[in-house]
């Protein structure tokens, strides 16, 4: 089964607009994280939300988590051209015995047009 599927696959918006990306997952989780990847570069951690949290803010980022629907959303407000990147959600599986691995989705490629 696929864990951590983002949609849309690609999103193109004008600078200043808000960007919303969604992530769905299948198994129960300890936490859900969002990462950003500029083209050809490494992954940068943006925000982590725990399974008992519903919403979290960090600067222009707002993340929500709905464990009943097994979904999360990432909102970037007042987007800038520098926000152009791929955004991935990643889940830390709740195996009970502890899990060391993150499962990443395919990502949403965001293009912010100046």
């Amino acid at each position: 089964s696929q864990q951590g599927e983002e949609d849309p696959q690609a999103l193109s918006i004008q600078e200043g607009e808000n960007a919303t990306m969604n992530c769905s997952y299948k198994t129960s989780i300890n936490n859900l994280q969002w990462y950003r990847q500029n083209s050809g570069r490494g992954l940068v951690h943006l925000i982590l939300i725990r399974s008992n949290e519903r919403e979290k803010h960090s600067g222009r980022l707002r993340v929500t988590l709905d464990t009943s629907k097994k979904s999360s959303s990432l909102l970037i407000t007042a987007s800038r051209a520098a926000d152009t990147a791929s955004y991935f959600c990643a889940t830390d599986r709740d195996s009970g015995a502890g899990s060391y691995q993150l499962t990443f989705g395919k990502g949403t490629k965001l293009s912010v047009i100046p």
């Binding site: 951690h45 830390d92 990443f104």
Partner: protein
């Protein structure tokens, strides 16, 4: 700001050759990981390492792969006999803790091209 560093940034090798990818995790981190990303595909977990032993590995991490922490700073991934399908970006990551608070810090990656 402390960061995870990886070398080489790009390596081209012939099929069947051995490759070693090197990583220097953040100095006070205790957990180390290798992930890979085939071009245009998902980032996939390979292996996690803690207290000088593998703590978890995926089905991708077969007998051709091995990891080592030869000294107090380096963390290496070795592929014994590379295949064409090993061509990917390999990311090293480290974390202070695992589990619910486990933010991973990733390096910039090593791009491996197998010809």
């Amino acid at each position: 700001e402390p960061e995870v560093t990886q070398t080489p940034s790009h390596q081209v090798t012939q099929m069947g050759q051995e490759v070693i990818l090197r990583c220097v995790p953040i100095s006070n981190h205790l957990y180390f990981y290798w992930y890979r990303q085939i071009l245009g595909q998902k980032v996939e977990f390979l292996v996690s390492f803690y207290n000088n032993e593998i703590s978890e590995k995926s089905e991708i991490f077969d007998d051709q792969f091995s990891v080592e922490r030869p000294d107090g700073s380096n963390f290496t991934l070795k592929i014994r006999s590379t295949k064409l399908e090993d061509s990917a970006m390999y990311f090293c990551a480290s974390s202070v803790v695992r589990g619910p608070t486990g933010e991973l810090f990733f390096g910039e990656g090593s791009r491996l091209t197998v010809l």
